[in-house]
């Protein structure tokens, strides 16, 4: 049976002035908050737990469980921090959500803060999207004017202040503890865990860090019930999510669907590959997830199935490349990214990404030797599981998976004496006089 799209978060992104409070309220906005405030905070935690929703920021940790890890209130502050540092290559779902319907996030934040008894919440937005920041500042102002944020929210006695915080350019700040250090005004470098943020997070106080899409999904779960949410998706990967198709497809974009949909189904919705070209490789969940090929078109895109097939669901960032693309070039550019973004704290990641960049550059230029492939795999082996945070692990995914699937293409660079591909053929404007 073909899977159909289930627009919940993206339901009215195409409506005029979708970002205003008025539009949000006319689509049922803030009804969930009223319902939530009539219940006890623990009931909301239980409800989110029962929905089975797993974090939408890549790691897939059950959100309700994360909330329940906070220690009992001790009278001191507790915080909710929303991770809006969307920077994983290929990932482009939170930015459109925040641009189109920022109130969804704010409503989710008020409900989540009430559930975990936090009176302060923060959004950490990457700094390189200024219009999204404008929309967030304005949305907060509107929510405050209408009594959804501030003192005694809707007469419930619950107080919440929200701060919209812009970062300043650093992929690593998407790692939750680096994000917290950055939010404290420091270099964004990851912290040793434990203690986990639930115990000692922002200012060493109990803190929940959740992705934008996770928190934005909360109002719909509260309004429609956990069974409704769990009725979509698969048994262990419940609900819906934004699937972001990019690259060599006819109609790239955001497709909100139940988890477990396949790339074959999504490609069909997106009009197929451009010019009827052949699918060569794709990432199921961003550049840190091992590459898939055409043989994985029918892998259900849920956490378990993607893992069983050797990759990770990540952020459902489907970067799709056709046969005009050189995989060595693709991997080199990802490695240059990891090298640039490695925070420098731990040796395997700092040095490993640096050396792999050198090796990949010479391979792409046709100047390497076949043994370089073993060297790359050896370096990967010394990073994976040995780096301080998942950035290093993620940097190895494209290398090991590309060598696994495309070893011959690496070697072809050596026999060809350079890259055998024409880079113009893979561009959007191929064939046109650009």
């Amino acid at each position: 049976m073909a899977t159909a799209l289930t627009p919940v978060l993206s339901e009215f992104w195409d409506r005029p002035e979708s970002w205003t409070l008025r539009t949000y309220e006319s689509h049922g906005g803030y009804r969930a908050l009223r319902a939530a405030l009539d219940r006890r905070p623990e009931e909301i935690v239980d409800l989110v737990k029962a929905s089975g929703i797993r974090g939408r920021g890549g790691a897939g940790f059950p959100a309700g469980l994360k909330w329940s890890f906070l220690p009992a209130p001790d009278g001191g502050p507790r915080y909710l921090v929303v991770n809006a540092d969307e920077s994983e290559p290929g990932t482009c779902k939170d930015v459109p959500l925040l641009m189109a319907t920022p109130q969804t996030l704010i409503e989710g934040m008020v409900i989540a803060s009430y559930a975990i008894r936090a009176e302060r919440a923060f959004v950490y937005l990457r700094g390189e999207v200024v219009h999204v920041y404008r929309r967030l500042l304005r949305a907060l102002e509107e929510a405050r004017e209408s009594g959804y944020v501030g003192k005694n929210i809707l007469g419930s006695g619950f107080d919440l202040e929200i701060v919209m915080h812009a970062g300043a350019g650093a992929y690593i700040c998407g790692e939750e503890t680096a994000l917290l250090d950055s939010l404290e005004g420091r270099r964004g470098q990851p912290r040793l865990k434990p203690p986990f943020p639930a115990v000692a997070g922002l200012y060493a106080r109990p803190t929940v860090v959740n992705n934008v899409e996770s928190i934005a999904s909360v109002p719909s779960i509260v309004s429609n019930g956990p069974e409704w949410f769990a009725g979509m998706g698969t048994e262990r990967s419940t609900g819906f999510g934004l699937f972001s198709l990019s690259g060599h497809v006819k109609r790239p974009g955001q497709y909100e669907a139940p988890l477990g949909i396949t790339l074959r189904e999504l490609l069909d919705m997106a009009g197929g590959m451009r010019d009827g070209n052949e699918l060569k490789f794709w990432t199921p969940g961003g550049s840190s997830t091992p590459l898939f090929t055409a043989e994985h078109l029918d892998v259900p895109l849920d956490f378990e199935s993607v893992a069983a097939a050797g990759s990770m669901l990540g952020t459902r960032a489907l970067q799709i490349f056709d046969h005009t693309t050189c995989v060595v070039r693709a991997v080199l550019r990802w490695m240059e990214f990891y090298r640039h973004e490695s925070c420098g704290k731990c040796t395997p990641c700092r040095e490993g990404t640096y050396w792999m960049t050198q090796v990949l550059r010479s391979l792409e230029a046709g100047e390497g030797v076949p043994e370089d492939l073993d060297k790359l795999l050896d370096v990967c082996d010394n990073i994976l599981g040995r780096s301080f945070c998942p950035l290093g692990d993620g940097a190895t995914s494209c290398v090991t998976s590309s060598i696994q699937h495309f070893r011959d293409e690496y070697l072809r660079h050596l026999t060809h004496g350079g890259c055998p591909f024409d880079p113009m053929e893979s561009t959007l404007f191929a064939g046109a006089s650009a």
Binding site: A4, C92, A168, G169, P252, E256, F321, W334, E341
Partner: protein
């Protein structure tokens, strides 16, 4: 050039407003560095010293932060930062060709500024607009589905002082200093300008509507069940 007393006073007042947003003042450091850029067009030694003084930190502590983040500039920046995404997907979709064209057209390399002080050219990493690849950011506003010629036209118009509207963003691209002030958390009243979503963002929404696909209705204990 050291700040005059009037400027120090004004920046100090803005910085105190930023600090008041947070439970602990040091959290204000990143926005304060954006604020310094809004004054000088980069983070100068004076800007670092002022942040240090206001937060009771050493200049070394502030420098350590200022040098960590790619948006903070240590040299005078152009009025417009043109960031060409050359991360894998955009590079392959045309970002490399766009960067090469701009480099040639402007006669400057990565991180360099044109002699007239108008344009700083940069390679940038993934900016979360992959479904609009190749993407060019002008002062952190989105220019989607670019080509070498459209990007060249963009920088030419900016150099001539014309107003240019991003694909998804404010009504026009503001200057680097103006945008830096927004990033320090001071709204500029432009939030209602521009589109809610671009064409790619709503492809799924529109397709679902066309085919009559919807998420199921409430099934259980939620509000308003029947």
């Amino acid at each position: 050039m050291p700040f005059t007393d009037t400027v120090r006073e004004r920046l100090g007042a803005d910085a105190r407003e930023i600090m008041a947003r947070y439970p602990e003042p040091r959290s204000a450091l990143l926005p304060m560095l954006h604020l310094m850029q809004s004054e000088e067009g980069f983070v100068s030694g004076d800007g670092i010293a002022l942040c240090a003084e206001l937060l009771g930190l050493s200049t070394a502590e502030v420098s350590a932060v200022a040098t960590f983040y790619s948006q903070f500039k240590r040299h005078p920046n152009g009025d417009y930062t043109i960031g060409v995404c050359t991360n894998t997907l955009c590079a392959i979709m045309g970002g490399d060709a766009i960067f090469a064209a701009l480099q040639k057209h402007l006669g400057v390399g990565d991180g360099e500024t044109t002699p007239d002080g108008r344009i700083t050219l940069e390679r940038i990493e993934c900016n979360a607009g992959c479904d609009y690849a190749p993407v060019v950011m002008a002062n952190w506003e989105f220019f989607d589905n670019q080509t070498p010629s459209s990007a060249t036209e963009l920088v030419d118009e900016l150099r001539l002082g014309k107003d240019v509207a991003p694909t998804r963003g404010a009504g026009k691209v503001c200057t680097f200093k103006e945008v830096s002030r927004v990033l320090a958390g001071f709204a500029d009243g432009r939030a209602d300008e521009g589109v809610g979503a671009g064409a790619a963002s709503v492809r799924g929404t529109e397709l679902a509507r066309e085919r009559g696909w919807k998420a199921p209705g409430p099934t259980t204990t939620g509000e308003g069940e029947g």
